[in-house]
């Protein structure tokens, strides 16, 4: 995997695209800043994962060792309380592989935070984590689950052999517990990712296809589908380079820049935390090591976290192309 500096160089040296900061200026948009009231604390609690998906921007996998310790989680919950941040968004890697996940969820629930876990589903099919669906249901955790596509061939091509069938099995189990069922209060959202160097189309249309196919073929229901574009960072950036698609993909992203997405980009309303406690603007900046002023959550006060200028580079075109993209799907 290329170093962070190399990745930024790759993104910023494409001559045919205008640097993202310049595009903002040309559109009369001032430098982006975190809002004075953050809505979400997004915590990447580790890069260890049972899968090695082709589009993964954090390069997670079974060989990664990085896990967020409980001390960092404690500091993050302190900041959430002090700043009245209502939502906790837990990601990874596979969050379930962090032994302190259940502690973190229980503590956040006790503090009345809305907790979301991003699960790859297949990890729940492992006997060691088979209790997690019930744990999530008991704590009313919102689940955002990867299902790259609604057919086995296309899904497994992105995520690995056998992943689709395992995911379907776990979605059925979650449905049995009430997830994705009307009136249960248990939210089950799915994530679609394009299977290569192309952008996601209208979320609404893809969601309708998922809803029809998953119900007709497997009897599965869900609440929302998030169409999340592939970010030119990490393993996906390596693919773009190796396949000769980088320049064209970046031209597509920058050509589709939509100024009206900028006010809704997720970095404006969230704090993104790396496993070691370093604070970033988003998960992508985290993967690139892109930060204006390095700071650790253990030393942070409100003024360190809110209102600060956001570090941007050309990967930010991925959040502002077309309907926009975020960890919650389309922006507009």
């Amino acid at each position: 995997m290329p170093t962070n500096t190399t990745q930024l160089d790759d993104l910023n040296s494409i001559e045919t695209i205008t640097p993202f900061e310049e595009t903002l200026r040309k559109n009369g948009i001032p430098p982006l800043r975190v809002m004075e009231k953050a809505e979400t604390m997004q915590m990447n609690i580790g890069l260890l994962c049972n899968l090695r998906c082709k589009h993964c921007h954090v390069d997670a996998g079974p060989d990664r060792k990085e896990l967020m310790p409980r001390e960092v989680m404690t500091q993050a919950l302190r900041v959430m309380t002090e700043l009245c941040i209502p939502k906790l968004d837990i990601t990874g890697g596979a969050p379930e592989l962090n032994p302190d996940l259940t502690w973190l969820v229980s503590e956040a629930t006790r503090l009345n935070k809305d907790v979301t876990v991003r699960s790859n589903l297949t990890v729940l099919d492992d006997e060691r984590y088979s209790h997690m669906p019930e744990f999530y249901a008991e704590n009313k955790v919102t689940l955002i689950c990867s299902l790259a596509y609604y057919s086995q061939k296309d899904s497994d091509r992105i995520r690995g052999d056998g992943v689709f069938q395992s995911s379907i099995k776990m979605l059925k189990r979650l449905n049995e517990l009430g997830y994705g069922r009307e009136g249960s209060g248990l939210m089950l959202n799915l994530v679609y990712n394009p299977g290569g160097a192309f952008l996601p189309g209208a979320q609404e249309g893809i969601e309708a296809d998922y809803r029809r196919v998953l119900y007709d073929r497997h009897g599965i229901s869900f609440n929302n589908l998030f169409a999340i574009g592939n970010f030119p960072v990490g393993r996906f950036l390596s693919f773009l380079k190796q396949s000769g698609n980088l320049e064209r993909y970046m031209e597509k992203l920058s050509g589709a820049f939509n100024p009206s997405t900028v006010s809704g980009v997720m970095c404006r309303s969230q704090i993104s935390l790396k496993h070691d406690g370093t604070v970033y603007d988003c998960d992508f900046n985290q993967a690139l090591g892109l930060v204006r002023t390095p700071k650790n959550i253990s030393e942070c006060s409100a003024s360190d976290l809110l209102g600060c200028e956001i570090a941007v580079a050309n990967h930010c075109y991925a959040c502002t192309a077309g309907s926009g993209s975020s960890c919650g799907g389309a922006v507009i």
Partner: protein, 110 residues
Amino acid sequence: MESYYNYADLDKFSTMGEEAPQLWEKFMDYYGSVFEPGALSAREKALIALAVAHAVQCPYCIDAYTQSSLENGSNEEQMTEAVHVACAIRGGASLVHGVQMKNIIKKIGY
């Protein structure tokens, strides 16, 4: 010129408006409206365009509507079926003209 068809030439498409800007503008307005979701979804329209692109054998259109079909959520299986529809109609159109051949044989033969 290495090839009659170059990927980079697609970016020069708008130069077709240089000598006839009004016609170009009308065409582009119409083109844009055609692909708006209507009674057919954007995904269905992209698949039709993909099939037609193969029927008219336009490499620019095949590139554009392969990407557009993928972006609108279609998969390779669905797209391959669309190409077969184009193939069937093209092939069928050749074959059905065999009736003309038979008519002529009938007319001029004993």
